[in-house]
Symmetry: none
Subunit: 135 residues, 2 copies
Amino acid sequence: MNNYDDETTFAIGELAREFDITPRSIRFYEEQGLMSPSRTGQNRVYLNKDRVRLKLILRGKRLGFSLAEVKTLFDMYDSNPNSAVQLEAMLEMTEQKRAVLRQQLEDIQMLMTELDDVEARCREELAELKRGKIA
Amino acid sequence: MNNYDDETTFAIGELAREFDITPRSIRFYEEQGLMSPSRTGQNRVYLNKDRVRLKLILRGKRLGFSLAEVKTLFDMYDSNPNSAVQLEAMLEMTEQKRAVLRQQLEDIQMLMTELDDVEARCREELAELKRGKIA
DNA sequence: GTACAGGTTTACGTTAACGTTAATTACAAT
DNA sequence: ATTGTAATTAACGTTAACGTAAACCTGTAC
């Protein structure tokens, strides 16, 4: 499913709806050099490869990369695909991201136990209130 | 370790160094109502409770909370803990946050496996490059 | 033919979380 | 007395990722 051939075209609004973003965002990504759709007259026309690019941009964002970082990856891939240099740069970026995620996991665990404490104290005080020990 | 008594005081620069942020940031947090250190003359003086607050702010940030959200949590925590209404509101709030954290945990785990995939493909291609299968 | 639903460019506005001077104060050491 | 280090307030500057008009074209529906 979700498999288009190389002829199928999309208007900017279609892609916007599909990925639940605004046309403005898509134009912005183009302005930042992340996409370059063709045109019919003055209207942008997107092929499936452009659609895939957009998907990659959004996935990069979900992974916490900035648009500039995504562009860096695109540029590297476009200029020298499958080069050892590009692949190693990619590995480095993923490793950095992994470190951030590890830190977040740790933080979440600490926060959760703190929430446990707060909750326990709340329940205790509530129980005392109901027993009438405090007005 | 890292255990200070309630008398120990800190200058703004000390805290900045300890948490690897700038004094400007600490003043900004105060300006946003997240801290209120005492003073000697016109200089800010931080006690351990302030230091703990700062730690919590930074942890919240790492978790993706805005300063405004952190402030909301602080306000709730600080507000009168003697009323049953307040306590129940607090419980509701912590339960909501807990749900958010659970979701984040899930997201992070998915992202990590995605990174695993990317990394695995990279290493594989690198290995092929080294075996000379690709020019 | 006119309304309308899309598309277009240009350009200024917005928000968060600080950065960056500037001008001043205060204590500590040389 | 001067130099150095750390602190202060006030206020304007910055970045990312768009939002939001304004003013325009353009093909289809009625």
